[in-house]
């Protein structure tokens, strides 16, 4: 073994050592190059897999949207017809209140429609595509019979044009001196929201 590392040994083996060094370097290069290429392919494959997953997700979304649209189409159509996606038509509301007042023979009706504002929903919920707007409406009505007041409120809630959820109401009797006189016997103070939606992308 000692002869390998003598001057003569090193001289006679220099080609062999050089060949070994070249082979190791070349082999390492080949191995690294092939490994790099494989890793690159893996990265490309991973990218393809990711794109495939995204495409599948997109497809699932559009399928769900399609199914959802089919299910919601009828409801949506009704809501559009009831003006949920329209701007407030205050004149229509004025006329509606007048009509209902006459129908239920209210002896007095005071109302106040507040300025339209974005409606804060419970839990801070927001929708990505629509803004929820509302105008607060306060009513004070008087009637001979509480059934007229309840009928008026019910009719306002069920009107085919617009959405007016009543969230507060106080009804009380009015004491009158003359029992037989035609004076209001009951009054109501109610508060409701006139709700409309606005599509965001339409500005």
């Amino acid at each position: 073994m000692k002869h390998i590392f003598t001057a003569e040994g090193l001289r006679k083996l220099r080609m062999a050592w050089a060949l070994l060094a070249l082979s190791l370097a070349g082999g390492a290069g080949i191995a690294w190059g092939s490994h790099w290429y494989l890793e690159k392919e893996k990265r490309d494959s991973a990218s393809s897999e990711r794109r495939l997953r995204e495409a599948r997700s997109r497809l699932d979304t559009v399928r769900r949207e399609r199914d959802s649209l089919h299910e919601s189409a009828e409801v949506f159509s009704t809501l559009v017809d009831r003006g949920l996606l329209q701007n407030e038509r205050r004149l229509d509301l004025v006329e509606l209140v007048n009509a209902l007042r006459a129908r239920y023979q209210l002896s007095g009706l005071d109302y106040e429609i507040g300025a339209q504002r974005p409606l804060a929903l419970a839990g801070g919920r927001v929708f990505p595509s629509v803004d929820v707007l509302a105008s607060r409406v306060k009513l004070r009505a008087r009637a001979l019979h509480e059934g007229d007041l309840v009928g008026f409120i019910d009719a306002l809630s069920r009107t085919p044009q617009g959405f007016f959820p009543v969230d507060r109401c106080v009804m009380r009797r009015i004491d009158v001196a003359a029992v037989d006189s035609l004076q209001p016997r009951v009054e109501a103070d109610c508060t409701l929201e006139w709700v409309t939606l606005k599509e965001k992308r339409r500005g």
């Binding site: 003569e8 082979s23 092939s34 494989l38 494959s45 109401c169 929201e193």
Partner: protein, 543 residues
């Protein structure tokens, strides 16, 4: 791979080149100055071949000894010291242990051997050195003889192998129980009228006598003499050989021996050099006589070979690794193609669905949001009439109760309490709790007046129901019981729960109580009360 064997006798040097385990060339040189010169030219053309020098010389001396059985390191030291003592004048010396004594300390049996006259080897070794020939080793033909007998299945307690060497000499090697003990060379120098057989018989008998004089044999022992001869020499030998009780001759046909060893072409005469070379090819032996210095070119050649193999191995391994990687790349590419096809199919279906989606003048997400908002916030929002209808039915069953005021609120917070302004009853009862502001018991209703109160989902409906109950005068117990019955009856409605917030007579010790009884009391009285009613709307349906 070419290997070069040199078979050296006192008269001749035979050069045998082998390739692939077969002898491919043979050349003989006389053991003389002219022969050495010729060999020098010959070796120049084979300087790169690994060279094995087998000696079959008269100058080889054999001595038997026994040394204490010690560890390997100590044993090597003892053997080297003994060799130096025994064969001081030659570097070509060798010792081999041959088992242990059966008695006493059970010492190791050792055979020492050496080429006592180094000058016999010198011209040839010098020539090899001059040409930097890689000498793998120098081997003793007598020591190889025991292996030859084993290969021929001639294993005896006492065997004498007789072979003929190039240069017309006869080698006798005594092998006892498979171990070489003694060997000698005799020139074949026939006297007038003497046959080769007679000479063999005389020399083997002489050897037996020598061994017998060393007390090698017991009375019953017999020496098996195995003579390797060419068929052409057999007639000259066989008639002269006579078996005795102590000696038995076995003539081995060299062609049969060659066949048994696997030698493709049998020797053309009785010389055993080719047999030993072939034996060496099939059964490697350790170096006997060559020093490490003499073998340095072989060491370098083997190192060069090893380094080359490592280099090739490294390259092959990396190529194999690369091939493995590429195969995985191909697999991955196939998978990618499959993914691409699937991606194309998915995108096409996506486009088809997107194009076929119904359009209502708004985006799909808008439609979804509108419907979601409606279903979540508007569709099931409670209404006052829905609340009043079941309560009215209950009130109808309590004729003495008169409703004076109702404050109702849709909310998500069940603890909410609507505001209410107390109504004074038409006739004040004679005993009453001193008025306490109703607002003390109510939660603040700040949100009612806020600029933008949050829109409640309406999960709960909370109402304060104020009324009066008519009872006989001073029947406060009856009034309290009537109001409690009313609360109980309302609580029986599914989803409703009612509590008495203000009793007809507040008997709480913390509240002041005042009574004003006159001389004449009316027959009945009306007492005021307040109920708090909560209705919970369960998810997915009405209350």
């Amino acid at each position: 791979m070419v290997r070069h064997f040199l078979y050296l006798t006192n008269a001749r040097l035979v050069s045998l080149a082998t390739r692939g385990g077969r002898i491919s060339a043979r050349r003989e040189f006389a053991a003389s100055a002219a022969g050495a010169l010729e060999f020098d030219r010959h070796i120049a053309g084979m300087a790169d071949a690994m060279t094995y020098l087998i000696t079959d010389l008269a100058e080889e001396d054999f001595r038997l000894d026994a040394i204490p059985h010690v560890g390997a390191g100590d044993r090597d030291a003892i053997l080297n010291r003994k060799l130096a003592q025994m064969f001081r004048a030659t570097p070509f010396r060798y010792a081999v242990t041959q088992g242990r004594e059966s008695e006493g300390r059970r010492d190791d049996r050792v055979l020492y051997t050496a080429i006592t006259n180094a000058e016999v080897l010198r011209p040839w070794v010098d020539a090899l050195e001059r040409h930097h020939v890689p000498i793998a080793g120098i081997y003793s033909a007598p020591i190889l003889s025991s292996a030859l007998l084993e290969e021929l299945d001639l294993v005896f307690a006492h065997a004498l192998l007789v072979t003929f060497t190039p240069g017309n000499a006869m080698r006798q090697t005594y092998v006892r129980d498979g171990a070489v003990k003694f060997s000698r060379v005799t020139p074949v120098d026939l006297e007038e009228g003497q046959t080769l057989g007679a000479m063999v018989a005389e020399e083997t008998t002489r050897t037996w006598q020598y061994l017998d004089s060393l007390r090698t044999f017991s009375q019953d022992d017999r020496l098996e003499v195995c003579i390797v001869v060419h068929p052409s020499d057999r007639p000259a030998i066989e008639p002269a050989l006579r078996d005795f009780a102590q000696i038995q001759y076995r003539i081995l046909n060299i062609e049969h021996v060659a066949t048994k060893l696997g030698l493709k072409s049998a020797p053309l005469d009785s010389t055993a050099d080719e047999l030993f070379v072939h034996l060496f090819l099939i059964r490697k032996a350790p170096n006997h006589y060559a020093s490490p210095e003499l073998r340095r070119y072989a060491t370098l050649a083997r190192t060069r070979l090893l380094v080359g193999r490592i280099a090739i191995g490294a390259l092959a391994a990396s190529v194999a690794f690369a091939a493995w990687n590429l195969s995985r790349v191909f697999d991955s590419s196939e998978a990618d193609d499959k993914v691409s096809r699937e991606l194309y199919t998915i995108n096409r279906e996506y486009d088809q669905i997107s194009k076929a989606l119904p359009s209502y003048g708004v985006g799909g997400s808008t439609m979804r949001d509108v419907v979601t908002f409606y279903n979540g916030s508007i569709r099931g929002f409670p209404t006052l009439p829905q609340f009043l209808v079941p309560v009215s039915h209950v009130l109808g069953a309590h004729a003495e109760v008169r409703l004076t005021q109702l404050a109702w609120q849709a909310t998500d917070e069940p603890k909410t309490t609507p505001r209410i302004a107390p109504t004074a009853p038409r006739s004040s009862p004679p005993v009453k709790a001193l008025p306490r502001s109703i607002q003390e018991t109510q939660a603040p209703g700040a949100q009612e007046d806020a600029a933008n109160p949050p829109f409640a989902g309406g999960r709960y409906e909370v109402a304060l129901l104020e009324g009066t109950v008519r009872v006989r005068v001073n029947d406060f117990r009856g009034a309290v019981e009537e109001v409690e019955r009313l609360a109980t009856d309302i609580s029986r409605i599914e989803g409703f729960h009612a509590d008495v917030l203000e009793s007809p007579l507040d008997v709480n010790p913390a509240v002041a109580l005042q009574g004003r009884l006159g001389e004449r009391d009316p027959e009945t009285m009306e007492t005021r009360f307040v109920l708090r009613i909560v209705r919970e709307r369960r998810p997915g349906g009405s209350a």
